[in-house]
């Protein structure tokens, strides 16, 4: 082959490769939901086999008589929840492997459930580095995994949830389900060298006025994680020890509120922006004293105050001067 043909071939091959990987971006992640109706139907049927037992309906109407129904109650799933999750449209078997297809399930089936990183290699690696530095990973050892917080059948990434109140509800439930439950908390705290009684969440946050209101409006991770140094991740997974947690009200309650870049990074602007409000995207679902204010109105109020004070001082000065002049005249 002549050198020019050779490079032409290489260029063609490279283009083909680039095109293939480009087309592959959408379906890059293993097991991604297909768009082909025939394949969608195939997955629906395959998942329906699992749902025949693993739903409320399955529990009421078991397809087999030889099942341990008491054990099954612990493993009930809601198809609607799965359809609203990140992994909607995926086949159960992609993550669960072949071990669960037959019943009774294979004894070793649990070992072959895929880890997050098997499909999300790059992202999981970045998250893992931060997670390894968190209080949970450092102190609670291997018992604490990604699944401890993320139920792969339910969790939906914040960017796709949209409504900040819903993001808060989902993300805080991850923490509160454990930090507000003696049972679950103690199951994990046994990994600690000394026994630890679960600290009451409201008692440890009594310096925060109306903690209940705050916890419906902001996430635990807002104060308990640093800003992610990795730009491609919306939030850091490095849960800090309590002495490093953020106690400064002005992190949120000020014009350059961290809410805008963290919880509200996906929120769209609204009429508030047209009206000149700062942090208008926050104003879509919360009024935050110090943050969601209007610089134009503020300037008017400060200006009016200044004019009033100056006007009165001027009035007073003229009064005094004229009074002095009058007094000199009469004396």
């Amino acid at each position: 082959m002549r050198p020019s043909t050779k490079s032409l071939f290489a260029a063609l091959a490279f283009t083909a490769l680039a095109a293939a990987s480009g087309a592959g971006i959408a379906a890059e992640v293993k097991g991604a939901a297909p768009t082909d109706p025939a394949l969608i139907e195939k997955i629906r049927k395959s998942n329906a086999e699992c749902y025949a037992c693993h739903t409320e309906a399955g529990l009421k109407n078991p397809p087999r008589a030889d099942m341990d129904l008491a054990a099954l109650t612990k493993f009930i799933h809601d198809p609607k929840q799965f359809d609203g999750s990140n992994h909607t449209g995926m086949e159960c078997k992609v993550c669960h492997g072949q071990g669960y297809v037959a019943f009774p399930h294979a004894p070793e089936a649990k070992k072959s459930i895929s880890e997050c990183g098997e499909c999300h290699a790059t992202k999981a690696l970045r998250v893992e580095t931060q997670f390894e530095a968190s209080v949970h990973a450092k102190n609670l050892k291997d018992a604490f995994t990604c699944q401890t917080c993320h139920d792969p059948h339910v969790y939906k990434v914040a960017a796709k949830v949209g409504d900040p109140r819903k993001i808060v509800a989902q993300d805080n439930a991850m923490c509160v389900d454990c930090h507000n439950s003696d049972l679950r908390y103690s199951a994990f705290s046994t990994a600690l060298p000394t026994k630890k009684v679960r600290p009451d969440l409201y008692a440890t946050h009594d310096w925060l006025p109306n903690a209940r209101l705050h916890w419906s409006a902001v996430r635990c991770i807002e104060c308990h994680t640093p800003v992610s140094p990795v730009k491609s991740l919306a939030t850091s997974h490095e849960i800090l020890a309590k002495d490093k947690s953020d106690k400064a009200c002005v992190t949120c309650h000020s014009q350059d509120s961290a809410l805008a870049t963290r919880l509200y990074r996906y929120a769209s602007t609204n009429v508030g922006a047209d009206l000149g409000f700062a942090n208008a995207q926050v104003l879509g679902s919360a009024y935050v004293v110090g943050a969601t204010r209007n610089p134009l109105i503020d300037r008017a109020v400060i200006g009016l105050f200044g004019l009033t004070v100056l006007g009165l001082l001027g009035h007073g000065a003229v009064c005094v001067v004229l009074a002095l002049i009058r007094r000199r005249r009469t004396s």
Partner: protein
């Protein structure tokens, strides 16, 4: 000490100074909340919120007392500008502040036991005490229970109109207070009206 009349019962003087102190505290802490993070001259947010909450509830109680006492004693009548000629008397009073006061003219409507306030005072006090302050108190109380506010309004959080009203009405009270303190120095001597607010006796 040519002419002395007793104008102000103890309850009114007590209320007045309580109210004054609370409003100054609320103004300073309120500004610190609203302009949080702007500079070191503000009260730290967490402390400001604590003080503002306590002073706010105290002011609401003081206001309740003020309204009740005014009804019981009949003092509310002082705040009603008496026709005819309310507008003309207001103008005369305004002209006095704009010109007459510079020439050392006497006050056009010195207080009497029957009419403690001149017409302009009555109108302004009525506006502040029966419109603006209740607005601040009610919106402040809603601030305590944000679930009372509408959830959404034109796609924005329902607490926004409550907060705006609280902020603007609060600003009006502060502007009034500044002017009010200044006019307090326009008695026979700069201190005589303040003395009256303490002793209850008006001197000419």
């Amino acid at each position: 000490m040519s002419h002395r009349i007793y104008l102000l019962p103890p309850w009114l003087r007590l209320w007045h100074w309580t109210n004054a102190a609370l409003i100054i505290v609320l103004a300073v802490t309120g500004a610190s909340l609203h302009f949080a993070g702007e500079g070191g001259y503000l009260v730290p947010f967490s402390l400001a919120a604590k003080i503002h909450d306590i002073a706010g509830v105290a002011l609401a109680c003081a206001y309740g007392f003020f309204v009740l006492a005014n009804i019981v004693t009949g003092n509310w009548w002082q705040y009603v500008p008496k026709p005819p000629g309310v507008l003309a008397r207001c103008l005369t009073q305004a002209r006095f502040y704009a010109f007459g006061i510079f020439r050392g003219e006497p006050h056009p409507y010195p207080p009497t036991v029957e009419a403690n306030f001149n017409a302009l005072q009555a109108v302004v006090y009525w506006f502040i005490m029966y419109l603006v302050v209740p607005t601040v108190v009610v919106t402040g109380l809603i601030f305590f229970y944000p679930e009372l506010a509408p959830t959404k309004i034109y796609g924005l959080d329902g607490l926004l109109p409550v907060a705006m009203l609280h902020y603007i009405a609060g600003a009006v009270v502060i502007l009034f207070m500044v002017a009010h303190i200044y006019l307090g120095t326009t008695g026979v001597r700069p201190t005589s009206l303040f003395k009256m607010m303490i002793t209850g006796w008006h001197e000419e």
